[in-house]
Structures are given as structure tokens and as C-alpha cells.
């Protein structure tokens, strides 16, 4: 399956990464090569094969809903690049 610069540009937008024109060109070329390699998977007969997203026969792990101490907000904010009072500060979202 072909991947071109427009697709990479769109996917980079979905992934919230700015790419310089040079990066875009280089990455498009590299991803094309990697996907050509990955395309060998189209040769495999996967009819009636179930997908494995998790390797162990474990699902719906439940526990009692017991309240426990949570991280104090000051500690959670310690690593914030920018904070305002007890909030993470970000650029204005709504005009």
C-alpha cells in the first residue's frame, strides 16, 4: 500500500506533531520502505484466525471498590511546566 507525503502530513496532524518540510519528505520515504516490508503480511492466510490483542487468558479484572488515598493535587502539579493555583495552565482554548 502506498503512502505519500499527503498521508504522512495528515497522520502527523492526527498525532499532533509538527513536521518540517524536510522531515516530512524524509519520513515519507522511510515509512514507504517500512510499509513495503510490512506488506509481506498480506501473503499470510488469516482466514478464520482470531486476533490476539492480549496474550493471557485474562479479562474483566475486577476488584472491590475500596476508597484509598490519592495523590494530593500539589504533588500532581509539581511536574507541571506551567500551573496556576491548583490547575494546569494551558493556552486559551475558547475565545
Amino acid at each position: 500500500m502506498a503512502i505519500n507525503e499527503d498521508t504522512v502530513k495528515y497522520v502527523a496532524h492526527l498525532a499532533r506533531i509538527d513536521l518540517s518540510p524536510k522531515e516530512l519528505e524524509k519520513l515519507s520515504h522511510e515509512l514507504k520502505e517500512i510499509l513495503e516490508f510490512i506488506d509481506r503480511l498480506t501473503k499470510v492466510d488469516i482466514k478464520d484466525i482470531a486476533p490476539t490483542s492480549h496474550i493471557l487468558p485474562v479479562n474483566n479484572v475486577l476488584r472491590e471498590d475500596n476508597p484509598a488515598a490519592s495523590l494530593p493535587s500539589d504533588r500532581a502539579l509539581d511536574n507541571a511546566p506551567k500551573r496556576q493555583g491548583s490547575f494546569f495552565a494551558v493556552p486559551k482554548v475558547i475565545e
Binding site: T7, I17, I34, L41, R75, P81
Partner: protein, 480 residues
């Protein structure tokens, strides 16, 4: 006496006799690091770490205060944890990973310097670190492997007694092989991932890098077990792994998969691994040829599954809660995200995030992601079939010895192919160990990989220890 050269089990004997204290070991390591790390670069942020007040474990505990060095993607309360990425620079976790808590409870000393790694564990050479590459102590022009290259190099050069790494596609075993040390990837679910900064959640496991097999068992005793904070960890009793060591190789049924000895395998590596299999035979193991036909698809499956999961896991790095933010007072929120991620992530991280986002995006999901998950089932079925007749599978850990720094840096696909022998174990969720099994004429170490059924680490220890006792490879030290 230079304590840095000893193993944990040798140090605990000295502590029990009252000859040394945990603080003496830390002091020895610091001196060793001052002498060797300027060249080796196994650790990051060294100056801060060497000045840190180290809280040592107690001498009357299971681990007797022996220091353990920690990869930079495992959260250590109070010590920076940055995944060797600019986007996490300055991050001080407000909590300990479960493995760190367990190590402290077992009486280990958490060594304050963190080990170098490929950014977010994306790589096979430790060249993708924002702190620059680590060297292989056997030849400083070559890579130590990756992504746990700092941990492997530190253990090999006696800059660490023992270390933790993480393994998503071979990131413990391949560097262990390149540096001539013992590296174990546990069964998926054996060790809690709580506090391991996630790369690919269905593949990641934390595991030990050590100077010998006994230390590997000792470290596994300390870190294994169910954790309510990681719902993918499994509630199966943890045996005392050191009791499995003396079982011997007699009667162990070994499968040798032809696919791992085919094209691409270095001739010298092949001969050394075949000699190691011969040794196992002499020790009483019984071997036969087996086939894992879907192994040929392991790398393409991995680079879809792992990048898809990574693209989702790394969405949290957006300049809001921690780490680096691209500050531009005029930027709108979305531009702040995009600018932060452009400057904060290195090339390989961007490549993988974009590949993974592509594989999950509308119109490509069925063709790539879903197809890869189905082929993953076939790879797992291959192992199930072989393990119905055999106790374990033995292969080279890597098709080559350590390559030159820079040799594969410009060719992502060539770098991906260096994981060809290790990736299947992660996709199948099975445990695998790499042990030193010889040296090439140029003096570079070769690793032997043993893989077993899920939750059968004991068999790995049993066979690895039998081999180690019959050889001297683990006693070889690089000249630094």
C-alpha cells in the same frame, strides 16, 4: 578490595560475615563509575546522582542492601525518570514503580544514577538517547545494544552489581548478548508494569540484567508477583527461583528451530551457538530440530503492534502535565501540542508514533493493525505446538555481535531487523533468557537464548545455570 567486581550473591556472603556494609558497596560503585563512565556512558545525569545521599537497604534483609541500577523508564520517587527523552526532561515521579517498592522491601539499595536507553525504549543500540550513545565495554567503537544498553554496559563493566531493564522486543536480551551478561525477559504478567513508562503495553516486561544466572534468579525473586495496580499482572504463586538452579540439564528436551539458523545469521555466531548446543547435549539435554514457520512474520507484526500501542501511550506527552513545553505565548493550544511534540521527541519516536497512528487510522486499521493481530495468533500457535513436545527452544539471541556505532543509525529498517531472534517471545508472551556463550575472534560476546512456556522461568534458570557451571564465559571481563 574492589567490591564493584562482585556479584550480589558474593556480596551477601561478605555482608553476612560482617566484612563489609551496604554503604561500602555504594562507595565502590561510585568510584568505579568515576573511573569508567566518562568513556562508557552507561549512566545519565551522573553528577547529580553521585552527590545524592543514598539510602541503603538493610544488611539483614533478603537483598542485604546490594545496589540495583535502574533503567531511566522505571519510576523512582525523588530521582529523575526521563526515558532519555527531551520531552520528559526534569520529570521527578511522585511515586515508586511497584518493582522499586518491592526491591526496597527486599532490602535492595536503589542506586541513584539511572541507566541510559534509547528514547522511550525505541531502538536496538542506545544511540537514540537524548544524552548520546552508551559504549560497549568490549569495544568502545561498537554499540551496547538496546534499548537497555545502559543497564547492560553498566553490569558488564562493573559499574553496576545488577540492573533492571525493560524488554518490549528484545531490549533486555539483545544488549545482554552484546555485552556478555545475563538478561531475562519474564513471562508477560509475571512482573508488575506499574510505574514502567509504557511503550507497548501488551509486550512490555521489566526484567533483570546480571553478571550470572544466580543473580538473575535472586533479582526475579524480589520483583515478581501479582500487583493490584497492574491488572495484567497474574496472580500465580512466585517460586523461589534460586531453588531451580541446581536441577541440571539431564533429560531437558530442547527444540532447535531451523528458521533461527537460516540466512542473515553471522557464520561465527552460528558456530559458537552450535557449540553451546553441543555443550548442553553433553550435559544431558536432548535436542531435536523443530519448526516455527511464522517467525518470518515476527518483525512486520511487531512494528505494527508495538508502534500502534506506542502512538496511543505517547499521546500523554503534550506539554501539559509534566516535562518539556514549547513555550510560545501566542500559540493556540493545538499548536502548543504540536510544537512541544516536534521539539520534545527525537526522530525515532516521531517515526514510530506516525507509523502507529497510520496503522490505527481510519481506512488502514483492518489492513494493518487487525491483520497483524491475527498473524500474532499464528506466531503464538507455533510456540504452543512446539512446547507440547519440548521443554524449551534454543536460538542465538542476535544474528550478529555488537555493530559499530553509527552503522545502522541512518537505516531504520536495518536496525529493526537486528531484533529478529528476540521479538517472537514478546509477541507470544513467553519468558526468555540470554546467557553468554562465547566470543568471536575480535573478542565480542555472543549470547545464547533459551525460551520456555509461560510462567516456566524455573526451566530457564535450570538450563542456563547448568550451562554456566560447565563454562567460564560469564567470568570474562572487558579490559577498560
Amino acid at each position: 578490595m574492589d567490591l564493584s567486581k562482585l556479584t550480589a550473591h558474593e556480596l551477601t556472603v561478605k555482608i553476612d560475615k560482617g566484612e563489609i556494609t551496604p554503604a561500602d558497596i555504594v562507595q565502590s560503585l561510585k568510584e568505579r563509575i568515576k573511573g569508567a563512565d566518562a568513556k562508557n556512558k552507561a549512566y545519565v545525569r551522573i553528577p547529580d546522582a553521585l552527590e545524592a545521599q543514598v539510602e541503603t537497604g538493610k544488611a539483614d534483609s533478603a537483598l542485604r542492601g546490594v545496589p540495583v541500577s535502574i533503567k531511566d523508564n522505571i519510576c523512582t520517587k525523588g530521582y529523575n525518570t526521563e526515558c532519555c527523552s527531551k520531552i520528559l526532561c526534569g520529570f521527578k515521579p511522585p511515586y515508586d514503580a511497584t518493582v522499586i517498592r518491592k526491591l526496597k522491601e527486599a532490602g535492595a539499595t536503589i542506586f541513584p544514577a539511572k541507566t541510559n536507553m534509547d528514547e522511550f525504549a525505541f531502538g536496538s543500540s542506545t544511540e537514540n538517547s537524548c544524552y548520546g550513545p552508551t559504549r560497549n565495554p568490549w569495544d568502545p567503537d561498537t554499540v551496547p545494544g538496546g534499548s537497555s544498553g545502559g543497564s547492560a554496559s553498566a553490569v558488564a563493566s562493573d559499574e553496576a552489581i545488577m540492573a533492571l531493564g525493560s524488554d518490549t522486543g528484545g531490549s533486555i536480551r539483545q544488549p545482554a548478548s552484546f555485552c556478555g551478561v545475563v538478561g531475562l525477559k519474564p513471562t508477560y504478567g509475571r512482573v508488575s508494569r506499574y510505574g514502567l513508562i509504557a511503550f507497548a503495553s501488551s509486550l512490555d516486561q521489566i526484567g533483570p540484567l546480571t553478571k550470572d544466572v544466580r543473580d538473575s534468579a535472586i533479582l526475579m525473586n524480589a520483583i515478581s508477583g501479582h500487583d493490584p495496580l497492574d491488572s495484567t499482572s497474574v496472580d500465580i504463586a512466585v517460586p523461589d527461583y534460586t531453588r531451580a538452579l541446581e536441577g541440571g540439564a539431564k533429560g531437558v528436551k530442547i527444540g532447535i528451530p531451523g528458521e533461527y539458523f537460516a540466512q542473515g545469521l553471522d557464520k561465527e555466531v552460528k558456530a559458537i551457538v552450535e557449540e553451546a548446543i553441543n555443550k548442553l547435549r553433553q550435559l544431558g539435554a536432548e535436542d531435536a530440530q523443530v519448526s516455527l514457520p511464522n517467525s518470518q512474520y515476527a518483525i512486520p507484526v511487531y512494528y505494527i503492534v508495538a508502534t500502534a500501542e506506542a502512538s496511543s501511550n505517547l499521546a500523554r506527552f503534550d506539554g501539559v502535565q509534566y516535562g518539556f513545553r514549547k513555550a510560545d505565548p501566542k500559540a493556540a493550544l493545538i499548536d502548543m501540542y504540536k510544537g512541544t511534540r516536534r521539539e520534545g521527541f527525537g526522530d525515532e519516536a516521531k517515526r514510530r508514533i506516525i507509523l502507529g497512528t497510520f496503522a490505527l487510522s481510519h481506512g488502514y486499521y483492518d489492513a494493518y493493525y487487525l491483520r497483524a493481530l491475527k498473524v500474532r495468533t499464528l506466531i503464538k500457535n507455533d510456540f504452543d505446538r512446539v512446547f507440547s513436545e519440548f521443554d524449551c527452544v534454543v536460538t542465538p539471541t542476535s544474528p550478529t555481535v555488537a555493530f559499530k556505532i553509527g552503522e545502522k543509525a541512518a537505516d531504520p529498517l536495518a536496525m529493526y531487523l537486528s531484533d529478529i531472534c528476540t521479538i517472537s517471545a514478546n509477541l507470544a508472551g513467553i519468558p526468555a533468557i540470554s546467557i553468554p556463550c562465547g566470543f568471536t575472534r575480535k573478542g565480542l560476546p555472543v549470547g545464547l537464548q533459551i525460551l520456555a512456556k509461560p510462567f516456566n522461568e524455573e526451566l530457564l534458570f535450570r538450563l542456563a545455570y547448568a550451562y554456566e557451571q560447565g563454562t567460564d564465559w560469564h567470568k570474562m571481563k572487558p579490559k577498560l
